[in-house]
Symmetry: C2
């Protein structure tokens, strides 16, 4: 899911998104609540209509953004009191409030309000926090129970601890949600922890319901986590990196501003069928980045979204042909991401 934080996938129009093969995008409850406000969006006929996107939308619950607010928020059993990162104004999110906001936004999939601990935290904090998430999940479910037009997904928390993850997952499964997200990963922990936790949860989460790993990731992350049973992902990485001039291609990452591409008249990715690759060459894109032309960010974003969508299609095909392992090896050859920095995951997500 490309990320459309505040009602737009940055620089990209909905008609283009469709042409990149995007089937669902993510919107952000926290951001949309602050600007332009969920009531305004409701008045406009909901988020789909407001932003001109008639395919599915998932809205997150704001739990992650609230976590990112650090000094600006106070968590109680009732909910979270926080200050807007924009103007310092005070707000109070409860599970019920977050469901109400998401109902106004009208996304197809909405998320429970969770407490998303940052990393690292003590195990006892994570355990307590996970209990709070369970309590809040139940409250979200109750607030949502007479309304079946939006699928409410639960979020499994529990940090890097398998026993806590299992306890959380089993409790949520007993509440019978239509889908389960795995939260609290890609928040700064070692990759091995992420892979270990998704693998661990693979045997616990119900097979017939979608599983969504939040805030992930690189192409290699996608395939490894799909092997661990994950179905859905969201990440700002493709679009954010693209706006800074780094794109994912079938030949690895390309930093398009590099002097190397000054007189390179080949497409960004010769194996790609996106508008950017079919129309422009590297020298042109490099030029646009050099003159700070917004079209550069747009064309790079377009390519990266297309690349990600196409990559997910390849994964699905590989599943059908029983060659996931081969695709994993090919991908690992292209991307060495031992050192991926997830610190970019922040309030702006």
């Amino acid at each position: 899911m490309p990320v459309g934080t505040s009602g737009a996938v940055k620089t990209i129009a909905p008609e283009e998104l469709e042409r990149t093969g995007t089937e669902i995008i993510l919107g952000n409850t926290y951001h949309l609540y602050l600007r332009p406000g969920h009531k305004l969006i409701e008045q406009a006929g909901g988020l789909h209509r407001f932003m001109g996107w008639d395919k599915p939308i998932l809205t997150d619950s704001g739990g992650f953004q609230v976590m990112s607010l650090h000094g600006l928020r106070k968590i109680t059993r009732e909910g979270v009191r926080f200050q807007s990162h924009l103007d310092g104004s005070y707000h109070f999110f409860t599970p019920e409030k977050v469901i109400e906001i998401q109902r106004s936004l009208g996304a197809d999939i909405i998320m429970v309000f969770d407490e998303c601990p940052s990393y690292p935290e003590t195990k006892s904090y994570i355990a307590e926090s996970m209990q709070l998430t369970l309590e809040w999940s139940k409250r979200c479910l109750d607030a949502h129970k007479d309304f079946n037009q939006q699928a409410l997904f639960a979020i499994v928390q529990g940090g890097i601890y398998e026993d806590l993850r299992e306890e959380c997952a089993r409790a949520l499964i007993s509440m019978d949600f239509p889908g389960y997200a795995i939260g609290g990963l890609a928040v700064g922990e070692e990759k091995e922890h992420m892979y270990r936790i998704t693998e661990f949860l693979d045997d616990i989460l119900p097979e017939e319901k979608p599983r969504y790993l939040m805030g992930v990731g690189t192409p290699l992350d996608l395939i490894i986590n799909v092997m661990n049973g994950v179905d859905m992902f969201d990440c700002v990485m493709p679009t954010r990196n693209a706006r800074k001039g780094t794109v994912f291609t079938s030949q690895g990452k390309i930093i398009i501003k590099a002097a190397l591409y000054k007189e390179n008249f080949r497409p960004l990715d010769p194996n790609c069928d996106c508008y950017t690759c079919k129309t422009f060459n590297r020298a042109y894109l490099r030029h646009l980045f050099n003159i700070d032309e917004m079209l550069a960010m747009r064309l790079a974003s377009l390519h990266s979204i297309y690349y990600y969508n196409t990559f997910m299609t390849k994964i699905r095909e590989a599943i059908d042909c029983n060659r996931l392992q081969t695709l994993l090896e090919e991908t690992a050859k292209i991307y060495d991401d031992k050192k991926v920095d997830y610190s970019g995951n922040s309030i702006d997500n």
Copy 2:
């Protein structure tokens, strides 16, 4: 002609430009010479191919930009020595050099290198400068004479003085160019001067050849100058204003960030068939501008280009139906532009 200064109409992709009905765009010799360099563009197969635009392109000669450099340039009979506004590096433009650069760029219409005096200047300076432009025009013609794949247009100078304009026009006409531009207007003079000069030149310039008024203008300017015999225009106004959130509509100018539009769910222009107006409402566009989302600038630019192209179509239709005067009156009712500020015409053009 929408302005694509450095090889891109800001924020807009060529496929979109086509859908706005754009038939020709303008590129900028001075800017493209500095970045990415005309030789690079030649290597890439010319400007059309470099920027992915296969319809006509006109490149200006850099005369206007050199004028804007003020303290950074020295004019001699041979040419202009100037410093780059980007890095202070020294360069020398002669008529021959400018033809060479434009040949590398490969536009369909290219312009002579002129001396474009700023406003106000003394009549004696304008007279001298106009003689220099005539000399340079002859040199451009000579440099271009064995090359007929690009139409070389002359530029009539002479400031706000009819006698100088006439002298310049007649001398250029005797050199037999395929088209004639009117330069040195929209540089800060009163509108009345502009209208007077184009009206004056209407009887002098050959009827069967295209006339191009450089750097103009508002919708009202377009129609008034068409009535004075002008065929072609270029201006950054629609796109630059759009990026700042002001768009032209059939109901006048709209400043989209205005609080007035906060809960306004109508299209920017209910009478417009552009993608922006067909897909989004004012509240959404206002929201995008408020969060500084680049998509806002893009959607607004798209609309304004479409509006300008459609307006020119209306003018052509009005000519056919003999109702130009009515269209002028209708337009004057919508736009009061006694106070249009052309000071935005600068080095960035």
